[in-house]
Amino acid sequence: MAEVLVLVDSVDGTVKKATFELLTAARQLGEPAAVVVGASGTAAALKGQLGEYGAAKVYVAEGDDIASYSVAPKAAALAAVAAQASPAAILLSSSPENKEIAARLAIKLDSGLLYDAVGLDADGTATQQIFGAAVSVQSKVSKGTPIITVRPNSFAPEPSAGAAEEVAVAVSLSDADKAARVTDSVLEEKGSRPQLSDAAVVVSGGRGIGKADNFAIIEKLADSLGAAVGASRAVVDAGWVPHTMQVGQTGVTVSPQLYVAVGISGAIQHRAGMQTSKTIVAINKDAEAPIFEIADFGVVGDLFEIAPALTDEITKRKS
Protein backbone atom coordinates (compact mmCIF):
# COMPACT_ATOMS: atom_id res chain seq x y z
CA MET A 1 0.00 0.00 0.00
CA ALA A 2 1.33 3.40 -0.91
CA GLU A 3 2.30 5.72 1.88
CA VAL A 4 0.47 8.92 2.75
CA LEU A 5 2.79 11.51 4.24
CA VAL A 6 1.56 13.64 7.12
CA LEU A 7 3.58 16.68 8.18
CA VAL A 8 3.79 16.66 11.98
CA ASP A 9 2.90 19.78 13.97
CA SER A 10 4.19 19.78 17.52
CA VAL A 11 4.72 22.12 20.42
CA ASP A 12 7.36 21.46 23.08
CA GLY A 13 7.58 17.72 22.43
CA THR A 14 3.83 17.17 22.14
CA VAL A 15 2.20 16.27 18.84
CA LYS A 16 -0.74 18.55 18.09
CA LYS A 17 -4.22 17.10 17.84
CA ALA A 18 -4.50 18.28 14.24
CA THR A 19 -1.70 15.84 13.32
CA PHE A 20 -3.60 12.93 14.89
CA GLU A 21 -6.62 13.98 12.84
CA LEU A 22 -4.53 13.81 9.68
CA LEU A 23 -3.01 10.43 10.59
CA THR A 24 -6.60 9.21 10.99
CA ALA A 25 -7.74 10.72 7.68
CA ALA A 26 -4.65 9.35 5.90
CA ARG A 27 -5.66 5.74 6.59
CA GLN A 28 -8.40 5.81 3.94
CA LEU A 29 -5.89 6.90 1.28
CA GLY A 30 -3.04 4.55 2.13
CA GLU A 31 -0.54 3.78 4.86
CA PRO A 32 0.03 6.77 7.16
CA ALA A 33 3.63 7.91 7.50
CA ALA A 34 4.54 10.87 9.69
CA VAL A 35 7.17 13.42 8.69
CA VAL A 36 8.98 15.31 11.41
CA VAL A 37 10.80 18.40 10.15
CA GLY A 38 12.71 20.51 12.61
CA ALA A 39 15.83 21.15 14.62
CA SER A 40 17.98 18.18 15.63
CA GLY A 41 16.37 16.09 18.35
CA THR A 42 12.79 17.10 17.61
CA ALA A 43 11.57 13.64 16.63
CA ALA A 44 12.70 11.66 19.67
CA ALA A 45 9.86 12.81 21.90
CA LEU A 46 7.23 12.58 19.15
CA LYS A 47 7.79 9.08 17.74
CA GLY A 48 5.83 7.18 20.36
CA GLN A 49 2.84 9.49 20.12
CA LEU A 50 2.79 9.17 16.32
CA GLY A 51 2.82 5.36 16.57
CA GLU A 52 -0.29 5.50 18.74
CA TYR A 53 -2.17 7.06 15.84
CA GLY A 54 -1.13 4.62 13.17
CA ALA A 55 2.11 6.02 11.76
CA ALA A 56 3.84 3.01 10.16
CA LYS A 57 6.93 5.10 9.56
CA VAL A 58 8.29 8.30 10.98
CA TYR A 59 10.48 10.13 8.51
CA VAL A 60 12.87 12.37 10.36
CA ALA A 61 14.27 15.36 8.50
CA GLU A 62 16.21 17.25 11.13
CA GLY A 63 18.78 19.95 10.87
CA ASP A 64 19.68 22.99 12.88
CA ASP A 65 19.48 25.10 9.74
CA ILE A 66 15.83 24.28 9.20
CA ALA A 67 14.45 26.67 11.80
CA SER A 68 16.99 29.36 10.93
CA TYR A 69 15.23 30.25 7.69
CA SER A 70 11.61 31.00 6.93
CA VAL A 71 9.33 28.36 5.36
CA ALA A 72 11.52 27.27 2.41
CA PRO A 73 13.67 24.70 4.30
CA LYS A 74 10.59 22.88 5.53
CA ALA A 75 9.31 22.58 1.96
CA ALA A 76 12.73 21.34 0.87
CA ALA A 77 12.70 18.72 3.64
CA LEU A 78 9.23 17.49 2.70
CA ALA A 79 10.29 17.32 -0.94
CA ALA A 80 13.28 15.20 0.08
CA VAL A 81 10.99 12.80 1.95
CA ALA A 82 8.56 12.69 -0.96
CA ALA A 83 11.40 11.80 -3.33
CA GLN A 84 12.30 8.87 -1.08
CA ALA A 85 8.77 7.67 -0.28
CA SER A 86 6.87 8.24 -3.58
CA PRO A 87 3.70 8.83 -1.55
CA ALA A 88 0.08 8.56 -2.71
CA ALA A 89 -0.63 11.92 -1.10
CA ILE A 90 0.84 14.50 1.27
CA LEU A 91 -1.33 15.96 4.03
CA LEU A 92 -0.70 19.06 6.14
CA SER A 93 -2.96 20.82 8.61
CA SER A 94 -4.20 24.20 7.38
CA SER A 95 -2.15 26.68 9.37
CA PRO A 96 -0.89 29.77 7.53
CA GLU A 97 2.70 28.48 7.58
CA ASN A 98 1.74 24.96 6.51
CA LYS A 99 -0.22 26.34 3.57
CA GLU A 100 2.92 28.19 2.47
CA ILE A 101 5.01 25.03 2.87
CA ALA A 102 2.43 23.18 0.78
CA ALA A 103 2.51 25.96 -1.82
CA ARG A 104 6.27 25.69 -2.29
CA LEU A 105 6.08 21.91 -2.30
CA ALA A 106 3.46 21.98 -5.06
CA ILE A 107 5.84 23.95 -7.27
CA LYS A 108 8.81 21.72 -6.39
CA LEU A 109 6.88 18.53 -7.16
CA ASP A 110 4.86 19.90 -10.13
CA SER A 111 1.82 18.74 -8.20
CA GLY A 112 -1.65 20.02 -7.51
CA LEU A 113 -2.47 21.64 -4.19
CA LEU A 114 -5.87 21.68 -2.53
CA TYR A 115 -6.10 23.81 0.56
CA ASP A 116 -8.48 24.09 3.51
CA ALA A 117 -10.25 20.77 2.95
CA VAL A 118 -12.93 19.95 5.50
CA GLY A 119 -13.52 16.44 4.16
CA LEU A 120 -11.52 13.82 2.27
CA ASP A 121 -12.71 10.69 0.41
CA ALA A 122 -10.83 7.47 -0.24
CA ASP A 123 -10.39 8.44 -3.90
CA GLY A 124 -8.65 11.67 -2.91
CA THR A 125 -11.61 13.97 -3.47
CA ALA A 126 -11.44 16.87 -1.06
CA THR A 127 -14.40 18.92 0.10
CA GLN A 128 -13.80 22.63 0.56
CA GLN A 129 -16.20 25.31 1.70
CA ILE A 130 -15.84 28.65 -0.01
CA PHE A 131 -17.45 32.09 -0.04
CA GLY A 132 -18.01 32.05 3.70
CA ALA A 133 -19.25 28.43 3.56
CA ALA A 134 -22.03 29.41 1.12
CA VAL A 135 -20.71 26.95 -1.46
CA SER A 136 -19.38 23.44 -0.92
CA VAL A 137 -16.88 22.26 -3.53
CA GLN A 138 -15.52 18.81 -4.36
CA SER A 139 -12.08 18.96 -5.95
CA LYS A 140 -9.35 16.57 -7.00
CA VAL A 141 -5.71 16.93 -7.82
CA SER A 142 -5.18 16.14 -11.49
CA LYS A 143 -1.41 16.32 -11.67
CA GLY A 144 1.43 14.83 -9.65
CA THR A 145 1.22 13.87 -5.99
CA PRO A 146 -1.91 15.29 -4.33
CA ILE A 147 -0.92 17.84 -1.68
CA ILE A 148 -3.85 18.61 0.57
CA THR A 149 -4.09 20.90 3.57
CA VAL A 150 -6.93 20.01 5.93
CA ARG A 151 -8.62 22.32 8.41
CA PRO A 152 -8.18 21.32 12.05
CA ASN A 153 -11.23 19.62 13.64
CA SER A 154 -12.36 18.16 10.30
CA PHE A 155 -11.71 14.57 11.43
CA ALA A 156 -12.07 12.91 14.81
CA PRO A 157 -8.69 11.45 15.79
CA GLU A 158 -8.86 7.69 16.37
CA PRO A 159 -5.95 5.80 17.93
CA SER A 160 -4.52 2.89 15.97
CA ALA A 161 -1.25 1.04 16.50
CA GLY A 162 1.54 1.83 14.06
CA ALA A 163 5.14 0.61 14.00
CA ALA A 164 6.53 4.17 13.89
CA GLU A 165 9.69 2.87 12.25
CA GLU A 166 12.20 5.70 12.14
CA VAL A 167 13.65 6.62 8.76
CA ALA A 168 16.26 9.36 8.69
CA VAL A 169 16.21 11.65 5.68
CA ALA A 170 19.15 13.88 4.77
CA VAL A 171 18.17 17.39 3.76
CA SER A 172 20.53 19.70 1.96
CA LEU A 173 19.42 23.27 1.67
CA SER A 174 20.07 25.34 -1.44
CA ASP A 175 21.02 29.01 -1.35
CA ALA A 176 17.43 29.86 -2.29
CA ASP A 177 16.18 27.86 0.70
CA LYS A 178 18.38 30.04 2.90
CA ALA A 179 17.35 33.36 1.39
CA ALA A 180 15.03 34.53 4.19
CA ARG A 181 16.75 34.37 7.56
CA VAL A 182 14.78 34.25 10.81
CA THR A 183 16.65 36.55 13.18
CA ASP A 184 14.27 36.49 16.13
CA SER A 185 11.11 34.78 17.29
CA VAL A 186 8.90 36.66 19.69
CA LEU A 187 6.06 35.17 21.73
CA GLU A 188 3.34 37.71 22.33
CA GLU A 189 0.50 35.70 23.67
CA LYS A 190 0.43 35.28 27.38
CA GLY A 191 -1.12 32.54 29.42
CA SER A 192 -1.90 28.97 28.65
CA ARG A 193 -5.04 29.20 26.52
CA PRO A 194 -5.26 26.97 23.46
CA GLN A 195 -4.32 28.36 20.07
CA LEU A 196 -7.27 29.91 18.27
CA SER A 197 -6.82 28.25 14.87
CA ASP A 198 -7.15 24.65 15.97
CA ALA A 199 -8.92 24.90 19.34
CA ALA A 200 -11.79 22.50 20.01
CA VAL A 201 -13.75 25.27 21.74
CA VAL A 202 -13.67 28.98 20.92
CA VAL A 203 -15.34 31.81 22.84
CA SER A 204 -15.44 35.12 20.97
CA GLY A 205 -16.47 38.59 22.02
CA GLY A 206 -17.93 41.32 19.85
CA ARG A 207 -18.86 44.96 19.94
CA GLY A 208 -21.52 44.21 22.57
CA ILE A 209 -18.85 43.97 25.26
CA GLY A 210 -18.63 47.77 25.09
CA LYS A 211 -15.05 48.44 26.13
CA ALA A 212 -11.64 46.80 26.39
CA ASP A 213 -11.84 46.23 30.15
CA ASN A 214 -14.98 44.16 29.74
CA PHE A 215 -13.15 41.62 27.61
CA ALA A 216 -12.22 39.83 30.83
CA ILE A 217 -15.80 38.52 30.84
CA ILE A 218 -15.05 36.68 27.60
CA GLU A 219 -11.72 35.39 28.88
CA LYS A 220 -13.25 34.01 32.07
CA LEU A 221 -15.97 32.20 30.14
CA ALA A 222 -13.32 30.82 27.78
CA ASP A 223 -11.23 29.59 30.69
CA SER A 224 -14.20 27.79 32.23
CA LEU A 225 -14.56 25.86 28.95
CA GLY A 226 -10.83 25.43 28.32
CA ALA A 227 -11.41 27.46 25.18
CA ALA A 228 -9.39 29.73 22.94
CA VAL A 229 -10.43 33.37 22.82
CA GLY A 230 -11.48 35.11 19.61
CA ALA A 231 -12.99 38.43 18.68
CA SER A 232 -14.97 40.11 15.95
CA ARG A 233 -13.43 42.66 13.64
CA ALA A 234 -15.16 45.53 15.46
CA VAL A 235 -13.33 44.61 18.66
CA VAL A 236 -9.98 44.36 16.88
CA ASP A 237 -10.54 47.62 15.00
CA ALA A 238 -11.34 49.32 18.30
CA GLY A 239 -7.92 48.16 19.53
CA TRP A 240 -9.35 46.20 22.46
CA VAL A 241 -7.54 42.99 21.46
CA PRO A 242 -4.71 42.17 19.04
CA HIS A 243 -5.37 41.34 15.40
CA THR A 244 -4.23 37.73 15.91
CA MET A 245 -7.53 37.17 17.73
CA GLN A 246 -9.76 38.25 14.87
CA VAL A 247 -12.12 35.55 13.61
CA GLY A 248 -13.56 36.18 10.18
CA GLN A 249 -13.12 36.67 6.48
CA THR A 250 -9.84 38.50 6.81
CA GLY A 251 -8.76 37.01 10.12
CA VAL A 252 -8.44 33.49 11.46
CA THR A 253 -10.83 30.83 10.21
CA VAL A 254 -11.92 28.44 12.94
CA SER A 255 -13.91 25.25 12.77
CA PRO A 256 -14.21 24.10 16.39
CA GLN A 257 -16.56 21.62 18.05
CA LEU A 258 -18.13 24.52 19.92
CA TYR A 259 -18.17 28.23 19.09
CA VAL A 260 -19.66 30.64 21.60
CA ALA A 261 -20.39 34.12 20.19
CA VAL A 262 -20.90 36.73 22.87
CA GLY A 263 -22.14 40.17 21.88
CA ILE A 264 -21.40 39.44 18.22
CA SER A 265 -24.07 40.44 15.70
CA GLY A 266 -22.80 37.98 13.11
CA ALA A 267 -21.99 40.09 10.07
CA ILE A 268 -21.10 38.09 6.95
CA GLN A 269 -17.44 38.95 7.44
CA HIS A 270 -17.49 37.26 10.87
CA ARG A 271 -19.62 34.30 9.81
CA ALA A 272 -17.15 33.53 7.02
CA GLY A 273 -14.57 32.65 9.65
CA MET A 274 -16.69 30.44 11.93
CA GLN A 275 -19.66 29.13 10.01
CA THR A 276 -18.27 25.60 9.76
CA SER A 277 -18.15 25.26 13.56
CA LYS A 278 -19.94 22.07 14.62
CA THR A 279 -22.07 23.73 17.31
CA ILE A 280 -22.71 27.46 17.65
CA VAL A 281 -24.06 29.17 20.77
CA ALA A 282 -24.89 32.88 20.73
CA ILE A 283 -25.65 35.47 23.36
CA ASN A 284 -26.87 38.84 22.09
CA LYS A 285 -29.29 41.46 23.29
CA ASP A 286 -30.71 42.03 19.80
CA ALA A 287 -33.17 39.29 18.84
CA GLU A 288 -32.76 40.30 15.18
CA ALA A 289 -28.97 39.78 15.16
CA PRO A 290 -28.00 37.56 12.21
CA ILE A 291 -25.89 35.36 14.48
CA PHE A 292 -29.16 33.75 15.67
CA GLU A 293 -29.83 32.57 12.09
CA ILE A 294 -26.91 30.18 12.35
CA ALA A 295 -26.81 29.47 16.09
CA ASP A 296 -27.79 26.04 17.33
CA PHE A 297 -28.73 27.64 20.62
CA GLY A 298 -29.22 31.33 21.21
CA VAL A 299 -30.14 33.44 24.17
CA VAL A 300 -31.49 36.95 23.71
CA GLY A 301 -30.41 38.95 26.71
CA ASP A 302 -27.80 40.98 28.52
CA LEU A 303 -24.36 39.43 28.08
CA PHE A 304 -23.13 41.17 31.23
CA GLU A 305 -25.54 39.02 33.23
CA ILE A 306 -25.58 35.84 31.16
CA ALA A 307 -21.87 35.37 30.43
CA PRO A 308 -20.65 35.58 34.05
CA ALA A 309 -23.56 33.39 35.18
CA LEU A 310 -22.66 30.87 32.49
CA THR A 311 -19.03 30.90 33.64
CA ASP A 312 -20.19 30.09 37.17
CA GLU A 313 -22.64 27.46 35.97
CA ILE A 314 -20.02 25.65 33.86
CA THR A 315 -17.44 25.82 36.64
CA LYS A 316 -20.01 24.41 39.08
CA ARG A 317 -21.08 21.57 36.78
CA LYS A 318 -17.51 20.64 35.94
CA SER A 319 -16.43 20.36 39.57
Partner: protein, 266 residues
Protein backbone atom coordinates in the same frame (compact mmCIF):
# COMPACT_ATOMS: atom_id res chain seq x y z
CA UNK B 1 25.17 57.88 -6.20
CA UNK B 2 23.61 56.54 -3.03
CA UNK B 3 20.41 58.39 -3.68
CA UNK B 4 20.09 56.90 -7.13
CA UNK B 5 20.82 53.34 -6.00
CA UNK B 6 18.24 53.58 -3.24
CA UNK B 7 15.41 54.39 -5.60
CA UNK B 8 13.18 51.40 -5.44
CA UNK B 9 11.32 49.56 -8.15
CA UNK B 10 8.25 48.54 -6.20
CA UNK B 11 5.76 46.14 -7.72
CA UNK B 12 2.41 45.61 -6.04
CA UNK B 13 0.59 42.42 -6.97
CA UNK B 14 -3.09 43.19 -7.11
CA UNK B 15 -6.03 40.89 -7.69
CA UNK B 16 -9.52 41.84 -8.67
CA UNK B 17 -12.12 39.77 -6.81
CA UNK B 18 -15.91 39.63 -6.47
CA UNK B 19 -17.09 41.96 -3.70
CA UNK B 20 -17.46 39.98 -0.47
CA UNK B 21 -20.63 41.95 0.27
CA UNK B 22 -22.29 40.38 -2.79
CA UNK B 23 -23.79 36.94 -3.26
CA UNK B 24 -20.74 35.20 -4.72
CA UNK B 25 -21.24 32.18 -6.97
CA UNK B 26 -19.46 29.60 -9.05
CA UNK B 27 -20.39 29.35 -12.72
CA UNK B 28 -22.01 25.91 -13.23
CA UNK B 29 -20.87 25.77 -16.87
CA UNK B 30 -17.20 25.29 -15.92
CA UNK B 31 -17.10 25.46 -12.08
CA UNK B 32 -14.99 28.63 -12.07
CA UNK B 33 -15.69 31.82 -10.15
CA UNK B 34 -18.62 33.67 -11.71
CA UNK B 35 -17.03 37.07 -12.18
CA UNK B 36 -20.25 38.63 -13.44
CA UNK B 37 -22.46 37.65 -10.50
CA UNK B 38 -21.08 40.33 -8.21
CA UNK B 39 -19.36 43.68 -8.77
CA UNK B 40 -15.59 43.27 -8.95
CA UNK B 41 -13.38 45.19 -6.53
CA UNK B 42 -9.73 45.37 -5.50
CA UNK B 43 -9.03 42.48 -3.15
CA UNK B 44 -9.45 44.14 0.23
CA UNK B 45 -6.09 43.02 1.64
CA UNK B 46 -4.30 44.21 -1.52
CA UNK B 47 -5.23 47.78 -0.55
CA UNK B 48 -2.77 47.39 2.31
CA UNK B 49 -0.14 46.12 -0.15
CA UNK B 50 -0.70 49.17 -2.37
CA UNK B 51 -0.42 51.49 0.64
CA UNK B 52 2.78 49.77 1.78
CA UNK B 53 4.24 50.21 -1.72
CA UNK B 54 3.33 53.89 -1.74
CA UNK B 55 4.89 54.39 1.70
CA UNK B 56 8.12 52.68 0.60
CA UNK B 57 8.25 54.98 -2.42
CA UNK B 58 7.69 58.02 -0.21
CA UNK B 59 10.52 56.92 2.10
CA UNK B 60 13.05 55.73 -0.48
CA UNK B 61 12.06 57.22 -3.83
CA UNK B 62 11.32 55.16 -6.89
CA UNK B 63 8.24 53.92 -8.64
CA UNK B 64 5.21 51.82 -7.81
CA UNK B 65 3.97 49.49 -10.52
CA UNK B 66 0.69 47.61 -10.16
CA UNK B 67 0.86 44.09 -11.59
CA UNK B 68 -2.43 42.33 -12.19
CA UNK B 69 -3.16 39.00 -13.83
CA UNK B 70 -6.81 38.82 -14.70
CA UNK B 71 -9.63 39.48 -17.13
CA UNK B 72 -9.97 42.67 -19.16
CA UNK B 73 -12.44 44.07 -16.68
CA UNK B 74 -9.68 44.27 -14.04
CA UNK B 75 -8.75 47.59 -15.68
CA UNK B 76 -11.33 49.24 -13.41
CA UNK B 77 -9.51 48.08 -10.30
CA UNK B 78 -6.12 48.97 -11.80
CA UNK B 79 -7.33 52.54 -12.36
CA UNK B 80 -8.39 52.73 -8.75
CA UNK B 81 -4.94 51.58 -7.61
CA UNK B 82 -3.36 54.19 -9.89
CA UNK B 83 -5.64 56.83 -8.40
CA UNK B 84 -4.31 55.95 -4.94
CA UNK B 85 -0.89 57.02 -6.23
CA UNK B 86 0.76 54.13 -8.07
CA UNK B 87 2.72 55.27 -11.12
CA UNK B 88 1.90 52.68 -13.75
CA UNK B 89 0.57 49.21 -14.27
CA UNK B 90 1.18 45.95 -16.06
CA UNK B 91 -1.98 44.01 -16.83
CA UNK B 92 -1.49 40.44 -17.99
CA UNK B 93 -4.71 39.36 -19.64
CA UNK B 94 -5.35 36.49 -22.00
CA UNK B 95 -8.34 34.26 -22.70
CA UNK B 96 -6.09 31.28 -22.06
CA UNK B 97 -5.68 32.32 -18.40
CA UNK B 98 -9.34 31.69 -17.59
CA UNK B 99 -9.74 29.08 -14.87
CA UNK B 100 -6.07 29.00 -13.83
CA UNK B 101 -5.49 27.69 -10.31
CA UNK B 102 -3.04 29.22 -7.83
CA UNK B 103 -0.02 27.58 -9.47
CA UNK B 104 -1.01 28.79 -12.94
CA UNK B 105 -1.51 32.30 -11.63
CA UNK B 106 1.82 32.24 -9.81
CA UNK B 107 3.57 31.18 -13.03
CA UNK B 108 2.02 34.08 -14.94
CA UNK B 109 3.08 36.55 -12.23
CA UNK B 110 6.61 35.11 -12.18
CA UNK B 111 6.95 35.45 -15.95
CA UNK B 112 5.53 38.98 -15.92
CA UNK B 113 8.05 39.99 -13.23
CA UNK B 114 10.73 38.72 -15.60
CA UNK B 115 9.79 41.47 -18.06
CA UNK B 116 10.21 44.38 -15.62
CA UNK B 117 12.74 45.61 -13.07
CA UNK B 118 11.72 45.05 -9.49
CA UNK B 119 13.26 45.18 -6.02
CA UNK B 120 10.22 44.11 -4.05
CA UNK B 121 6.97 42.49 -5.15
CA UNK B 122 4.31 43.13 -2.51
CA UNK B 123 1.08 41.16 -2.31
CA UNK B 124 -1.80 41.05 0.11
CA UNK B 125 -1.52 37.97 2.33
CA UNK B 126 -4.58 36.37 0.75
CA UNK B 127 -7.44 37.09 -1.61
CA UNK B 128 -10.97 37.17 -0.27
CA UNK B 129 -12.32 34.92 -3.03
CA UNK B 130 -10.12 31.83 -2.88
CA UNK B 131 -8.50 32.51 0.50
CA UNK B 132 -5.57 30.28 -0.35
CA UNK B 133 -2.78 32.58 0.83
CA UNK B 134 -0.47 30.41 -1.27
CA UNK B 135 0.44 32.48 -4.35
CA UNK B 136 3.21 34.58 -2.73
CA UNK B 137 4.96 31.42 -1.48
CA UNK B 138 4.58 29.76 -4.88
CA UNK B 139 5.97 32.88 -6.53
CA UNK B 140 9.03 32.94 -4.26
CA UNK B 141 9.64 29.27 -5.02
CA UNK B 142 9.30 29.80 -8.78
CA UNK B 143 11.63 32.79 -8.76
CA UNK B 144 14.13 31.42 -6.26
CA UNK B 145 13.62 34.74 -4.46
CA UNK B 146 13.37 35.21 -0.71
CA UNK B 147 9.90 34.79 0.76
CA UNK B 148 9.00 37.50 3.27
CA UNK B 149 5.33 36.79 3.85
CA UNK B 150 2.56 37.53 6.38
CA UNK B 151 4.29 40.79 7.25
CA UNK B 152 2.82 43.22 9.75
CA UNK B 153 5.82 45.51 9.37
CA UNK B 154 8.25 46.04 6.49
CA UNK B 155 11.58 47.85 6.78
CA UNK B 156 13.90 48.54 3.85
CA UNK B 157 17.52 49.57 4.25
CA UNK B 158 19.39 49.69 0.96
CA UNK B 159 19.19 46.18 -0.47
CA UNK B 160 18.19 44.66 2.84
CA UNK B 161 14.53 44.06 3.69
CA UNK B 162 13.27 42.90 7.04
CA UNK B 163 9.76 42.11 8.16
CA UNK B 164 7.82 41.12 11.21
CA UNK B 165 6.13 37.90 10.16
CA UNK B 166 2.91 37.18 12.04
CA UNK B 167 2.91 33.74 13.65
CA UNK B 168 0.21 31.98 15.64
CA UNK B 169 1.80 33.00 18.90
CA UNK B 170 3.47 36.31 18.07
CA UNK B 171 5.90 37.23 15.35
CA UNK B 172 9.24 36.38 13.78
CA UNK B 173 11.77 38.83 12.47
CA UNK B 174 12.82 37.70 9.00
CA UNK B 175 15.34 39.38 6.76
CA UNK B 176 16.58 39.01 3.20
CA UNK B 177 18.12 40.84 0.29
CA UNK B 178 16.24 42.32 -2.64
CA UNK B 179 14.68 41.29 -4.93
CA UNK B 180 12.21 39.78 -2.49
CA UNK B 181 8.60 38.63 -2.51
CA UNK B 182 6.60 40.19 0.32
CA UNK B 183 3.06 39.64 1.50
CA UNK B 184 1.41 41.93 4.01
CA UNK B 185 -1.44 41.32 6.41
CA UNK B 186 -4.28 43.75 6.84
CA UNK B 187 -3.78 46.37 9.52
CA UNK B 188 -0.10 46.84 8.57
CA UNK B 189 -1.08 50.40 7.63
CA UNK B 190 -4.07 52.56 6.92
CA UNK B 191 -4.76 52.56 3.16
CA UNK B 192 -5.36 56.01 1.73
CA UNK B 193 -8.42 56.99 -0.26
CA UNK B 194 -7.89 58.26 -3.80
CA UNK B 195 -7.95 62.07 -3.91
CA UNK B 196 -9.80 63.92 -6.66
CA UNK B 197 -6.41 64.92 -8.06
CA UNK B 198 -5.31 61.28 -7.91
CA UNK B 199 -8.42 60.14 -9.77
CA UNK B 200 -7.83 62.68 -12.51
CA UNK B 201 -4.12 61.82 -12.78
CA UNK B 202 -4.86 58.09 -12.97
CA UNK B 203 -6.70 58.51 -16.25
CA UNK B 204 -3.46 59.25 -18.07
CA UNK B 205 -1.14 56.84 -16.26
CA UNK B 206 0.17 54.04 -18.47
CA UNK B 207 -1.26 50.52 -18.29
CA UNK B 208 0.89 48.07 -20.21
CA UNK B 209 -1.40 45.27 -21.37
CA UNK B 210 0.44 42.03 -22.00
CA UNK B 211 -0.64 38.71 -23.42
CA UNK B 212 0.84 35.36 -22.45
CA UNK B 213 3.15 35.47 -25.46
CA UNK B 214 4.33 38.95 -24.39
CA UNK B 215 5.53 37.53 -21.07
CA UNK B 216 6.87 34.35 -22.66
CA UNK B 217 4.52 31.87 -21.00
CA UNK B 218 3.15 28.93 -22.95
CA UNK B 219 -0.67 28.78 -22.86
CA UNK B 220 -0.31 25.09 -22.01
CA UNK B 221 1.00 26.09 -18.56
CA UNK B 222 -2.16 27.91 -17.48
CA UNK B 223 -5.93 27.89 -17.75
CA UNK B 224 -8.66 25.57 -16.61
CA UNK B 225 -7.69 22.56 -18.74
CA UNK B 226 -4.05 22.69 -17.61
CA UNK B 227 -4.78 23.37 -13.97
CA UNK B 228 -3.17 20.91 -11.54
CA UNK B 229 -6.43 20.73 -9.64
CA UNK B 230 -9.97 20.31 -10.92
CA UNK B 231 -13.32 21.09 -9.35
CA UNK B 232 -15.46 17.99 -9.89
CA UNK B 233 -18.70 19.40 -8.56
CA UNK B 234 -20.15 21.95 -6.18
CA UNK B 235 -23.38 22.72 -4.47
CA UNK B 236 -24.66 25.88 -2.90
CA UNK B 237 -24.70 24.88 0.74
CA UNK B 238 -28.06 25.19 2.37
CA UNK B 239 -27.92 28.04 4.84
CA UNK B 240 -27.12 26.65 8.23
CA UNK B 241 -30.41 25.83 9.91
CA UNK B 242 -31.12 28.03 12.89
CA UNK B 243 -31.60 26.17 16.12
CA UNK B 244 -33.48 27.31 19.15
CA UNK B 245 -33.39 30.88 20.41
CA UNK B 246 -34.82 31.78 23.80
CA UNK B 247 -35.26 35.03 25.66
CA UNK B 248 -33.34 35.34 28.88
CA UNK B 249 -35.66 35.25 31.87
CA UNK B 250 -32.85 35.06 34.36
CA UNK B 251 -32.31 31.43 33.38
CA UNK B 252 -30.37 32.00 30.13
CA UNK B 253 -27.07 30.79 31.52
CA UNK B 254 -28.61 27.62 32.95
CA UNK B 255 -30.34 26.93 29.65
CA UNK B 256 -27.06 27.26 27.73
CA UNK B 257 -25.37 24.96 30.22
CA UNK B 258 -28.22 22.42 29.79
CA UNK B 259 -27.82 22.63 26.03
CA UNK B 260 -24.05 22.15 26.23
CA UNK B 261 -24.52 19.20 28.57
CA UNK B 262 -27.08 17.64 26.20
CA UNK B 263 -24.44 17.84 23.44
CA UNK B 264 -21.81 16.44 25.82
CA UNK B 265 -19.82 19.65 25.37
CA UNK B 266 -19.41 20.10 29.11
Amino acid sequence: MKEVSERMNIVVLMKQVPDTEGDRKLDPSDNTVDRNAVDPVINYIDEFAIEEGLQLKEAHGGEVTILTVGPERATESIRKALSMGADKAVHVTDEALHGSDAAGTAKAIAKALGTIEWDVAIAGSEATDARGAVVPAMLAELLGAPQLTQARKVTVDGTSVSIERVTESGYEKVEASTPAVISVVEKINDPRYPSFKGIMAAKSKPIDVKSLSDIGLDAGEVGLANSWTQVASFENAPPRAAGQTVKDEGDGAAKIADFLASKKLI
